[in-house]
């Protein structure tokens, strides 16, 4: 099979590549949002534990 024939997917390119592309976008999007949330959580956690240890010292 040639590359152009593979990309055309027997005239179903939109449906096949659309499905696989959508899956990649969905998974990539979820991972990206999750990593951002994790970073924000860690930052606020660090700030909270700083406040906590300062209060304990006082």
């Amino acid at each position: 099979m040639t590359w152009p024939a593979f990309l055309v997917m027997g005239d179903y390119a939109f449906y096949v590549w659309g499905s696989f592309g959508l899956m990649l976008v969905a998974i990539g999007g979820e991972v990206m949002l999750l990593l951002r949330r994790r970073r924000a959580g860690r930052d606020s956690r660090d700030a909270a534990s700083d406040r906590h240890s300062r209060r304990v010292r006082i």
Binding site: G10, Y12, M23, A26, E30, R37, R45, A48, H52
Partner: protein
């Protein structure tokens, strides 16, 4: 003879579960990435075109695992939400919350890829048949669960309200699964059976099962990352310092 048993109850302590999740995530993420690559390779390059549907059937390598994951994750969500509600186990409720977004994502993916498969094979993007309609209801249940949890400020009350909705909605899962047998729908019956002979060629079944395994491992990884985020957000700073 001594029997070694795992005391699962010790993982009800958020700090311990946080560390266990941290150890499991990299393994699951790497395994999921490998299996996704293998599944995509097998599904796109190795599996032959179907004699009736041509290459359009390759959409099923995304659609079927997404549809299975949407149902399985909802069952897990309902289980954890109920355990959290009945036993007042906050880690269990956090697990239910973590499952909801990934479950909603897979349900959305199943619906859209179903439409992308339906157009070339059925000649229509959408039909209000039993399976597609009940899967749409599943998406609404996920969205309802997520909305309810974000609308209520007190996390414990939000968990209880979410558990009630999850428990009521669990009745929809057998409806989705058995809809093709109970009603006359456009969807074909099950081609992969545990008790009976599978009616799918091995070269097509292999990528489907590899993609399903990849989706499972991916789900475990992202759910555990989200669980760790929730533990960080909800638990007081001192709660993380527990004995290993």
């Amino acid at each position: 003879m001594t029997r070694h048993t795992i005391r699962w109850s010790k993982y009800a302590v958020p700090g311990r579960l946080y560390r266990l999740a941290g150890r499991l995530i990299p393994w699951c993420a790497v395994a999921a990435a490998i299996l996704f690559s293998v599944g995509l390779g097998l599904g796109l390059f190795v599996a032959p075109a179907d004699f009736q549907q041509g290459d359009a059937y390759r959409v099923l390598f995304v659609h079927v695992p997404a549809a299975w994951m949407s149902m399985l994750l909802y069952l897990l969500l309902a289980f954890y939400a109920t355990v959290g509600w009945v036993f007042n186990a906050r880690v269990s409720s956090m697990m239910a919350s973590s499952l909801s977004i990934t479950g909603a994502m897979f349900t959305f993916l199943a619906l859209v890829t179903g439409a992308l498969w339906g157009r070339p094979t059925w000649g229509t993007w959408w039909v209000w048949d039993a399976r597609t309609t009940s899967t749409l209801i599943l998406l609404f249940l996920y969205v309802g669960f997520i909305s309810l949890q974000s609308a209520i400020e007190d996390p414990r009350r939000a968990d209880r309200a979410g558990a009630v909705l999850a428990l009521v909605g669990v009745v929809n899962v057998p409806i989705i699964y058995f809809s093709v047998e109970w009603w006359s729908t456009l969807h074909q019956g099950a081609t992969i059976r545990i008790a009976d002979r599978t009616t799918m060629a091995g070269s097509m079944l292999a990528p489907l099962l590899v993609m399903l395994s990849a989706c499972w491992l991916y789900s475990i990884a992202v759910v555990l990352v989200r669980l760790r985020c929730l533990i960080l957000e909800r638990e007081p700073p001192g709660a993380m310092a527990v004995a290993p």
